[in-house]
Every structure is written in structure tokens, then in C-alpha cells.
Symmetry: C2
Subunit: 485 residues, 2 copies
């Protein structure tokens, strides 16, 4: 039997009614009491429009203050929300709407056209979010509690191979994830978390849940913007921010000789391997970067460096959080597939065969050092095997982006008669292209010979999916604009 | 299906091996790694001595550094520990050993005689704790995870009426209790919790669980002692202390004009109604007192004042913690029985008929103010009905102990031909007895006429049970040493 817990927003509005739940750079503010009222009111409107308990309701919206209201309204109805990525094409959205058996589609501003195209051949009603802001009378009974094992959200995995699949998250997955994070990072009365990642990804969404579980304000941005983030950290009392590598890079650059105020206690860094040079640069500036490891299936971070180890174990994603377990499918100290387990791990994919109690094979490669700290190496399927040696693209990319003049790097394998495969690199220049000699000098002493790319292609941009993940297997086909260096 | 979580000490020893887990005023210290090793070793010894998974193992010990080692050893074996109150008589212990179907009894120092007397007519082997400290080889597989719904501890309720009953606590009860408390009080890297309450009561025991769930040091005292507690707060980095009224009274007195360092952030006050005068005195000295409400059945606090409300709502036990629900069985604003629900609430009593999913009727009376803050009034069965009015002994006792010269007060009802019942008071003098007139002057304006005690008895001490709870229904029979005032 699963636990039933009080509705988290009801609870928080009761515990801390006047505490700020949400604020934006534009000065929009909501207390937990106001967030509760607005969410309950939107739930009434949703039910007016025919949404019932258990319905699958898709939401296509950018970051906006209506986002938390919508997702809490869904929980008051007891429906399941399918969070759509606004960067998808209409045919990709169309696939997800069908695959998730969606019955209602709600759309944020400036996305109406994309939504209409997506449902062109489907029988799914589209409604604008503004219709949900209308006041309606309180007619329907709303949920005042959840079962921890009830499904609440579905998010499609980025799907670098095959069709995307809907990861189902229960209330418990999100709740345990929030609690495990607080047991790692601590919890202060003054905490305020910046959300500049998309809320339709689990990294952004999880901040909304932390807010309501902790009673903590979220500082919500519609998108990442260096100036606004710095302003928020320096002058708006932001104590935590969740970012990905490219954001941290820009923040570090813009910071120059300044350092963040002591009140800023956590830069949570997710989204894949990080160039070591960036971590050193951040450490030099005393930025409290906590590297994390996680994915949609783990409801955000499942391993994170702890505050005590942040500067001691640069490059590590730390250890599995409280309640979570993580191990490597290899001999001690060796690199192998990362396996995870815990109450924040999704029970599976919607409409697929799932084996709930099995640990999750992540498809990521990593190893643990002698103190048990995790180092994520690469995706299993991106590994290049050259002359019998495993070559990890992420390692080479990390070295390449550490060379001044190289903004981005993607590495993949090319068939080779002698070695089986050899690594080749695709590069985006900071300003102007470097010569091969400059690149080779820049890498000096950092990579074994068999890891050194055999060819360099300069391109305008690297192929990425809607979640901004590098698609290494598309590097060659994306080359039309490329140029042999 | 309940969740399975990693063994909490395994996890913490992995996350923070070098963090202090335990320290004592005498300078004894253990890291989480050392606590893990010692607990695992003791688990091996327990199994050597025949303790198996599921066995009921009683532990009779005062506060000592072996206590946390023992209880963790039990969890490595997967046995159930029955925590015995060292203040009980041998016949009371004998009853509990039989009622809980105990198979092994382990005994701390200086309690051997009590233990032997308790098993005189039983067939239960007694073993001294020192036998468990012997090194043994690692022969047995130990638990590396728990099911949250497995029973871990049993503690007998104070039993002010009827036979005492064993409250069963699961791992989940303790875990959710620890987490709910951290969501209320926050969690800082520097937290260190003082345990001066007996560890065989849930108020003390819960500190040991918080320690291992948070990765936080416990500062363990064998018993409460004003000087040692002040020393710990002023000079040993203690940030939290769990106390009962009488302890707070002594600390406030001894504090005189000093105030605690800012690092001291929580004086958690439990164990029943508190005289308002003491709360005012504490507030004047800026002591961060958080009044709580809880009982063995709720695995310690289930409602607590939050830091933000600590000085605004003097006398209130706050609101139900995260995950918990609490309501009053009466009209809004009226006094009635307190009902609670939540994953920290025990599923029931050992070997009794239990109805797991029912909310718990606490037998305590309380009301909620207009902001939803709980005020605990009294025990249901101690209420005096006088001329049709409810009279709450605790209210009168609070007023009486606010009078200089009165150290303790107990109030109960006496049959009365005219009013049905009338309140009478039993008093313990600070130094010398006051006159009736002095008492009445001291109460002036604070109590309605029908609440004013009709008789005063001065006694040397009040009848209390082994848990130090006032036994109001024994006030008259305890009077042999009393003296009509």
C-alpha cells in the first residue's frame, strides 16, 4: 500500500500562507495562499471545460507564471499532465499527443499556430491558457490528497534513437526527489531557487515541486539571460540556480573579476559532461557549483556533489542522493554502464512494457573513484572503439572546448580500415577558425594518441535535439555547411 | 507496495564517512564511518548470540554511546527492538517482556539487577551490552535496505489508564517523522542536536534517527544537567535541543541575563502543556522555543511551531507538519479531541486489534485559532465537569505554577453535591508553603470563579509515571504525605 499525503499546495498554503511562492524579473509575485487560490480556480475552469480525474491533458507552454498554476490545477483535478516541449515540430507533437492518448490540449501564448498544426489530423480540442484564467463558480470537489504512487506527469524523453517515449512520474517520484535534494543541499529559511531552464523538462519542473514541498519561492524566468540571472543572484536574493553547461559558461565569462554574494549557495549543474576547464574557472571564482547526474527517468538529479565535497572532487557528479542507489556495471574502479534505483526513479514509460521493480539501466557510462564518487563518462552508444580501445567522445570534446577559440565541439567515430573506427571532431569557432596545428598544440599532453581526432570539421552549429542535446550520430549528415579545416 | 530504501546508516556512511555522528560531553566521538563499523560488528555479535531477523529484542539501557550502536545493529539484523524504560519496576518490565513476546534481553550497565528481577519467572536470556562489544568475525549477511513498512521499534505508552501497550513503529514512521521535521525547521550543514531526553522515549530516540537521515551529529548526554546543557550550547556548537517544560524552566533560570549564541536555532519543547509565564520569559530572553505536539504513536512531534511563527504564537504547538494532518473533533474554533493522520503515525499496538487506515484519536483536547494554529488544552479523560462547565486541569496548573513560590501543581476533580465536581489543587512549594490568600491573590483575574480550586493540598511531590507524566487520577491516593493547606 502506498502512502497518501495531503495535497502539497493545500498543505503549504496552510503552513506558510504569506510566504512568497513565485516571483518573476518583471515583478510579478504570488504568495502560497494566492497560488493556491488561483490553482483551485483554474481547476474549476478545467472541470468546466470537461477535464476529469485521470484524463490526459497536454500542456504546450513556455516558462510563464501561469505554468505553476496550471500544473497545480491539474493536481487538484487529479488529471495527468503531458508536458510538451515547445521546440518540437508539429509532427513530433502530433506523435506525442497520440502516443500519450491525450484528450485535451492547453496552449500558452504565441504557440497557438504550432498547436493547431499539431492537431490538424487529430480530434483533440485546443484551448488557450487565457480561457482558464476566467473566474468561474466553485462547483466541483477538488482533491485534497494524493496517493504517492499515482501518476501525475508525463514527459517525453529526448529520444536520440527510436521513437520518444513518455516517462511517467508519480507524485511520489517528484516528492522523494525534492526531499532527497534537500537532504543533500540542506534547507534554509532564506532559500530562493532560480528557474531559467524550461519547465517542460524535469530539471525545470522539479523546481516547482521543490517550491511547494519546501515552502520556498521560485524566481521564474521565461528563458535564460545572462544579465537577468546575474541581477537575480546579486540583487534579488536568489540562493540556488539550476543551469546547464552553456549557461554556466556565459555566467562565468560575464562575472569577470566579481564573485557572487555569500547568500548564493548552490549552482546546480546538470545536463551532461562538463569541460574541466569550466569547472576550474568556476572554482577559481568561488562559485558553489554542484555537478549533478540525472535524467527524465530519475525525476531530475539522482546523484549530486555535496556542499562539503564541491571543491574537492571537481568533475564528479558526487554520490547517489539519500534514498537512491547507484552502481556501475563493471569491476570496481572500471568504466561501465550506470545503474540506478530509488523512489524517485520512474516506474516506466506510458504504454510500453515496463518492469517496475528492476533497477534502471541508464545507457550512460561512468566510473566511481576510490572514495565512491561518480564520474560520468559518456553515452554507451556513442563510444568509439578504435584499435580495441574505448574512446569516449565527451572526454575529447571536453579537451577541445578547453582550447581558447573553440566554442563547441562534437566528436564521433568514422570507419577506418586499420583501426576499425577513428575519432573525428566537429568544431564551432569562437571567432575565427584555428589551424590544425593550433588545435593540436592546444591539446598537447591531454589526450593519448588513439584519442586524438584524425579530422577536424568547422561548422556553424552542431546538430542538437529539441532538448538541446548534442546528436553525435547526426554530425556527419549535418555537415552540408561544414568545411574541411 | 511500500518503498524499499537503502539502510540509512550504510547510506550516510557512504555520503559523509568523516562527518561526526556522535559526541558526548566526556569527549567520546564517532564518525558515521565508525558508527557503521561498530554497528555492523555488534550485529555480527547479536547473530552469534542467536538473534535472528524478526526476533523481538528488548533493550534496557540509559543514555550511553552504545545506545545508537545497538539500535543500528538491530536494523542490520532486521530484528525488532523493544525499548524499555529504565525507571520501571521489575514487575512492569516483566509484563512488557511477556506482552511483547520478547526473546532476548540486552542490558546496559548498572541495570543488571533490575533485569534479573524482571525475568525471574520468565525464560528469557539476559546479556550485558559489554558482551556485544567483543570483536567477532564477519559471518552473517547483514541488511542493506529496509522496507518502509517493516516494524523496527516498539515502545510502551505511558499507560495512564489500563495496561501499557506497545506502539509499533516502522522504518517509514521514523523516516517520515525525521523528514517532516527537517521541512519545518530547515537543515543546515552546521546542525548539531542535543539529546538529553531518555533515548527509550520517542522524543530522544527520534534524534538518533534524524542524525542518520540528515547526516548530523548528536550530542548525547546520559541525562539532563543544566550546566552541561549550557556548556554544550555556548561552547560545543549545539544548534538544537529537545527538552520538556521542567528542563526549559531550569535553563531559563540559570541563563540569568545571558542570551544564547545565534548559532543556537531551536529549543524543541514537547511533553505537554507549558505555563505561559515560562514562554514569555523564554521569549524575553530570545530563546527560539518551538512548542510541539506529539506522542509515542506519532513517532515524536506531529505539530510544531515554525521558526517564522515562534514568537508570534506563544502557547501554540503550531500546525501539523508536512505530510501530517490534524483536526479537532468539534465546531470551528471550539475545543475538542485532537485527531491526527500521516505516514509518521503508528499503524497500531502490538498484539491488539488495530484499524490501520483510521485516523488516530489522540485523547487530547485542543482547539485551533482563526489562523489554524493548534492550542493543546488537556487530556480528554482529565476534564472536570463542574456545574455543566468543562474545566481543564492543565489551564489551572499553568496559572498556579506561574505564581512565585509554587514549583509544581496538579489539579483534579472531587465529587461535589452542588456542582457535580469541583477542582482541587495539589502543590509542591518552591521553598515554603504559601497561604490560601497568597495563592488566590496570585491567580487574581486569571481564572473564572468556577475554575478556581476549592481546596489546596501541599505535597512533597506529585505522582508521576516512569515517563515523568503527571498522574492526576492518583493525586488523592498519593496524599499520605500531604497536608491540608
Amino acid at each position: 500500500m502506498s502512502e497518501r499525503i495531503p495535497h502539497w499546495l493545500e498543505k503549504q498554503a496552510q503552513l506558510n500562507p504569506e510566504q512568497t511562492a513565485l516571483e518573476t524579473p518583471e515583478g510579478y509575485k504570488l504568495t502560497f495562499n494566492e497560488l493556491r487560490k488561483k490553482s483551485r480556480q483554474m481547476a474549476q475552469r478545467l472541470m468546466d471545460l470537461g477535464v476529469k480525474q485521470g484524463d490526459h491533458v497536454a500542456f504546450l507552454s513556455g516558462n510563464h507564471w501561469t505554468y505553476p498554476i496550471f500544473i497545480h490545477a491539474i493536481s487538484y483535478v487529479g488529471a495527468v499532465v503531458v508536458l510538451l516541449n515547445t521546440r518540437l515540430t508539429s509532427s513530433e507533437i502530433s506523435y506525442q499527443l497520440q502516443d500519450a492518448q491525450v484528450e485535451h490540449l492547453f496552449v500558452g501564448s504565441r504557440l497557438e499556430k504550432l498547436a493547431e498544426d499539431s492537431v490538424a489530423e487529430l480530434n483533440i480540442p485546443i484551448q488557450g491558457i487565457e480561457q482558464l484564467n476566467e473566474i468561474t463558480e466553485e462547483k466541483y470537489a477538488l482533491k485534497d490528497s494524493f496517493m504517492l504512487n499515482s501518476v501525475y506527469t508525463m514527459m517525453y524523453t529526448s529520444g536520440t534513437t527510436g521513437n520518444p517515449k513518455a516517462v511517467m512520474h508519480t507524485y511520489g517520484n517528484h516528492w522523494y526527489s525534492a526531499v532527497a535534494s534537500s537532504l543533500n543541499l540542506g534547507l534554509h529559511l532564506s532559500d530562493k531557487w532560480l528557474a531559467c531552464l524550461p519547465l517542460f523538462h524535469v530539471g525545470g519542473f522539479s523546481i516547482l515541486i521543490k517550491s511547494v514541498v519546501y515552502g520556498m519561492p521560485v524566481f521564474l524566468m521565461d528563458k535564460f539571460n545572462v544579465k537577468d540571472v546575474q541581477e537575480a543572484i546579486f540583487h534579488k536574493g536568489v540562493t540556488h540556480a539550476s543551469v546547464v553547461t552553456v549557461m554556466l559558461q556565459k555566467l562565468v565569462e560575464e562575472l569577470k573579476e566579481r564573485s557572487y554574494p555569500d547568500s548564493f549557495r548552490c549552482m546546480l549543474l546538470g545536463g551532461g559532461p562538463v569541460p574541466e576547464s569550466l569547472l576550474h574557472e568556476s572554482a577559481k571564482k568561488q562559485i558553489p557549483v554542484f555537478q549533478t547526474y540525472g535524467m527524465t527517468e530519475t525525476s531530475s538529479q539522482i546523484a549530486t556533489l555535496s556542499p562539503a565535497d564541491a571543491f574537492k572532487k571537481l568533475g564528479s557528479a558526487g554520490k547517489a542522493l539519500s534514498l537512491a542507489e547507484l552502481w556501475i556495471d563493471a569491476d570496481k574502479g572500471e568504466t561501465g554502464e550506470i545503474i540506478v534505483k530509488g523512489p524517485m526513479v520512474s516506474k516506466g514509460y506510458y504504454n510500453r512494457h515496463n518492469n517496475e521493480d528492476r533497477p534502471l539501466r541508464t545507457g550512460d557510462l561512468g566510473y566511481e573513484d576510490e572514495d565512491g564518487f561518480l564520474y560520468v563518462v559518456d553515452r554507451v552508444k556513442d563510444v568509439i572503439i578504435s584499435g580495441g580501445e574505448n574512446v569516449y567522445p565527451a572526454e575529447i570534446e571536453g579537451v577541445l572546448t578547453g582550447i581558447p577559440g573553440i566554442r563547441e565541439a562534437g566528436v564521433t567515430g568514422r570507419k577506418d580500415a586499420k583501426w576499425g573506427e577513428v575519432p573525428v571532431a566537429f568544431l564551432v569557432a569562437e571567432n575565427q577558425k584555428l589551424s590544425d596545428k593550433e588545435i593540436i598544440n592546444g591539446m598537447a599532453g591531454k589526450l593519448a594518441k588513439y584519442k586524438t581526432p584524425k579530422e577536424y570539421y568547422w561548422v556553424k552549429e552542431l546538430p542538437r535535439n529539441a532538448s538541446n542535446k548534442l546528436l553525435r550520430r547526426h554530425l556527419f549528415s549535418h555537415l552540408e555547411e561544414g568545411d574541411r579545416s
